[in-house]
């Protein structure tokens, strides 16, 4: 294999795969990136691919190929080398014993690689049908649900975001929960999602990769497709394929409160800042903050056996009965952070029932947080 590629083009490709490669795996080859050429001459391409066996990404980049071939080498080391090289053309020449000779300007590296045959197959998936969705909408949906997904590996069916088409509205919903809180968002993406007859659970890692793709500057539309076990996302020359989580997502609709006796509306920023301050004294990781609602007043308080107490009062339009409720302060702050709304409404039935938080201007975004018993 022998080729020349612009530094910026190569670096862009290597950046994309960095978070996919496994750093601490018992299969060392998974720390590698797979390079393979397609075509020959000035208008040829170099493909960069990586996988952790659950998520795979491949991107195609312009290159001048002098001699076709394939090779695999440490993704991190290659990225570190390329990042430090000057903005010039990089020349790569693979030697017979699987070394990559990398030359750029007057710098030269001989990087040990492995034969491409040693690299495992990437998850493959060619959906029957795909649809194009607006990247910005998809990004927002991911952001407003993924924060609530569980990181507890014993509850693998909660380690992702559930994607389903809502029968009544025809909208697409992303919802995630860790059993303590839940976040969902509905958006009309114009089209039903190809291949999605029932809901699927998209793993956190795959979705985080998709979010990165969506956040890239030139992202305008993303092509997505699913079947029961795999998902695909494509942006231009980059394709992301992931295995979906097999398992049943809990019947979450039962925990979404139907009624709420107590409710108030506050500017998001005022509530968030007060929570950040009072949260400084919340004990350990359990992080309880107590909310006392009285006429036109919300009192936030926390206490910590080692530190002391913190209190803050906020004026609020509230005329209901006096009530107290407590939450993990982090759960409240997490959902406020992604709602990007001027005002939010918080409502609940009683101190031991789930509370609901919605942006005042967007009834299609919702967070549910279970209270703490204090």
């Amino acid at each position: 294999m022998k080729l020349s590629i612009a530094k910026s083009e190569f670096q862009r490709g290597l950046t994309r795969i960095q978070s996919i490669v496994e750093k601490r795996n018992t299969m060392p080859i998974l720390a590698n990136v797979l390079l393979s050429t397609s075509g020959e001459g000035k208008k040829a391409t170099l493909e960069l691919a990586a996988t952790d066996l659950e998520v795979g990404i491949r991107g195609i980049y312009e290159a001048e190929v002098h001699e076709t071939g394939a090779i695999t080498a440490s993704a991190k080391k290659l990225y570190e080398i390329v990042r430090e090289l000057p903005e010039e053309t990089i020349h790569i020449d693979v030697t017979e014993n699987s070394y990559l000779m990398i030359r750029c300007a007057r710098a030269e590296f001989n990087l040990a690689g492995n034969s491409a045959e040693e690299y495992p197959d990437l998850p493959s998936f060619s959906p029957e049908k795909t649809v194009r969705v607006q990247a910005i909408v998809l990004g927002q949906m991911i952001e407003r649900s993924i924060y609530a997904a569980s990181v507890d590996e014993t509850r693998y069916n909660l380690n992702g975001v559930y994607l389903e088409v809502m029968k009544e509205s025809g909208k697409l919903r992303m919802v995630a929960t860790d059993g303590h809180r839940l976040g969902y968002v509905d958006r009309a993406l114009g089209l039903e999602v190809a291949g999605l007859s029932s809901g699927v659970i998209i793993p956190r890692k795959g979705l985080a990769e998709l979010k990165k793709l969506v956040d890239e500057d030139d992202a305008d539309e993303i092509e997505i497709g699913f079947d029961e076990s795999s998902g695909l996302a494509r942006k231009g020359d980059v394709t992301l394929v992931m295995r979906l989580i097999e398992g049943e997502f809990p019947n979450y609709s039962q925990v979404i409160p139907k009624e709420a006796e107590h409710r108030f509306v506050l500017p998001t920023e005022i509530l968030a800042q007060a929570l950040r301050r009072v949260g400084l004294f919340s004990a350990e990781r359990s992080g309880a903050v107590r909310l006392d609602l009285t006429e036109n007043k919300l009192k936030l308080s926390s206490n910590n056996p080692d530190l002391g107490e913190a209190r803050e009062e906020i004026d609020v339009d509230y005329a209901g009965d006096e009530i107290s409720i407590a939450f993990n302060v982090r759960y409240l702050m997490d959902c406020l952070a992604v709602m990007s709304a001027k005002e939010v409404q918080l409502s609940f039935q009683d101190a031991l029932s789930p509370a609901q938080i919605v942006p005042a201007d967007d009834p299609d975004t919702l967070a549910v947080v279970m209270p703490m018993r204090v």
Binding site: T26, E153, T154, M372, R373
Partner: protein, 402 residues
């Protein structure tokens, strides 16, 4: 305590008295946990591979240790210690610091208290204990080592330097083989060499950390006797007598460790949030005992737990994540992220069956009572217990992270 485990065995089995006794596994992977003074004459010491001990002392008697008995003995000894002061800082089952300042009116001068403590420990347990008395902790510890076997040494305030100066630098806390070699290269052999030196030279040899060593060398240990430190992690591990790659054996080992760790959590009324799986691969990549690649995988639970079943399931998930492709030599399960239970505030859940968690903890309480009464193997999960070469339980104490 002097040769603690071995002394207990000799006390309880008269046939062992006066003979070289080694406590520990005698298999090809066993390690000596304690050696009687008779065995030490042959050069046997604790932490030595049993194979080597056997070579040095072919007539020595190997005794498989009984940690539970030793722990019981330890509790009795610590109770004696607490008759003299509440400020008792345990270092291990058989070592403790006692801060006896302010007890003079009750027990007289420290040396008198020391003699009395030795007598009371002997009376209670028929075991020998050595005592070191000094103004600072490190010097007291060294003095007790020098006093062994069955002795007492007091190092008075104005004699500290005199006592420390001739000792090799390796007696200082924190000075291991590497630091010792660096100090030797810089011309420091004895504690006195370090104590008399300029701080700059020590810093040059050991880095900034060397300043602490210089303080210790001058007998300026400012650390207090810390009566109790909160546990920060619990773990249990075993080396298999034969390398294991069978998933079911690995899983039943995970269960055995998880259940035991969970029981210790419940016993101390604690819960843990993070589960750690430790695996040592059987294929050695470098010479020496550290040559086996060690994998650790950890996962954080949504809800802190003291339930062995939850810890086991986390262990299985970590086993999946490790994606093993070769046999295992050692497996350990540990927990960190320790919280006192029950919390002041309890997070409510959305999907748990009503009463599910409470029922589980009732079951665990019932099982604990059975085991307390009839022994830890009175009731087991329906899994085979794998054969283990050596088992070790650990608790790390210290400041908990927030």
């Amino acid at each position: 305590m002097d040769a603690f485990y071995a002394s207990i065995e000799q006390r309880d089995r008269p046939a062992l008295r006066g003979r070289p006794v080694m406590v520990g596994g005698d298999g090809h992977r066993g390690v000596v946990a304690a050696a009687s003074y008779e065995a030490r004459r042959f050069g046997v010491h604790s932490a030595m591979p049993s194979v080597e001990a056997r070579r040095l002392c072919p007539d020595g008697i190997f005794v498989r240790g009984d940690m539970k008995r030793y722990a019981r003995e330890s509790r009795a000894i610590f109770e004696v210690f607490r008759r003299f002061t509440p400020k008792v800082q345990g270092l291990s089952l058989d070592e403790a610091f006692l801060d006896v300042s302010g007890t003079e009116r009750l027990f007289g001068p420290a040396a008198e208290l020391g003699h009395r403590l030795r007598a009371e420990v002997r009376e209670t347990t028929q075991l020998a204990v050595s005592v070191g008395i000094a103004p600072v902790k490190m010097v007291a510890k060294i003095a007790s080592d020098v006093a062994k076997p069955d002795g007492l040494i007091e190092v008075l305030d104005d004699r500290v330097r005199e006592f420390l100066d001739p000792l090799p630098v390796s007696r200082l806390w924190g000075v291991g083989p590497v630091a010792q070699a660096r100090l030797a290269a810089a011309g420091f052999e004895t504690v006195g060499d370090v104590a008399r030196s300029d701080d700059g030279l020590i810093e040059a040899a050991l880095g900034e950390w060397g300043l602490g060593v210089a303080h210790l060398a001058r007998g300026e240990d400012v650390s207090d006797v810390e009566p109790y430190r909160e546990p920060v992690s619990y773990s249990e591990e075993n080396t298999f007598s034969q390398d294991v790659s069978d998933r079911r054996t690995l899983e039943s080992t995970v269960i055995a460790h998880a259940e035991s760790v969970a029981r210790r959590l419940r016993n101390d009324e604690l819960r843990a949030r993070t589960v750690v799986l430790k695996l040592k691969l059987a294929r050695r990549r470098a010479p020496g005992p550290r040559g086996y690649p060690l994998l650790t995988r950890r996962t954080t639970l949504d809800t802190p737990t003291d339930d062995g079943d939850v810890i086991s399931r986390a262990g299985f998930a970590l086993l999946d994540r490790a994606a093993l492709s070769e046999p295992i030599r050692l497996l350990g399960v540990g927990v960190t992220g320790i919280l006192r239970a029950p919390h002041s505030a309890q997070q409510l859940s959305m999907f748990d069956r009503p009463g599910g968690v409470e029922r589980r903890s009732k079951l665990n309480r019932a099982l604990d009572e059975l085991r307390d009464r009839f022994g830890s193997s009175a009731i087991l999960r329906g899994n085979l217990e794998p054969e283990r070469a050596g088992l070790s339980l650990q608790i790390k104490r210290g400041e908990r992270e927030e």
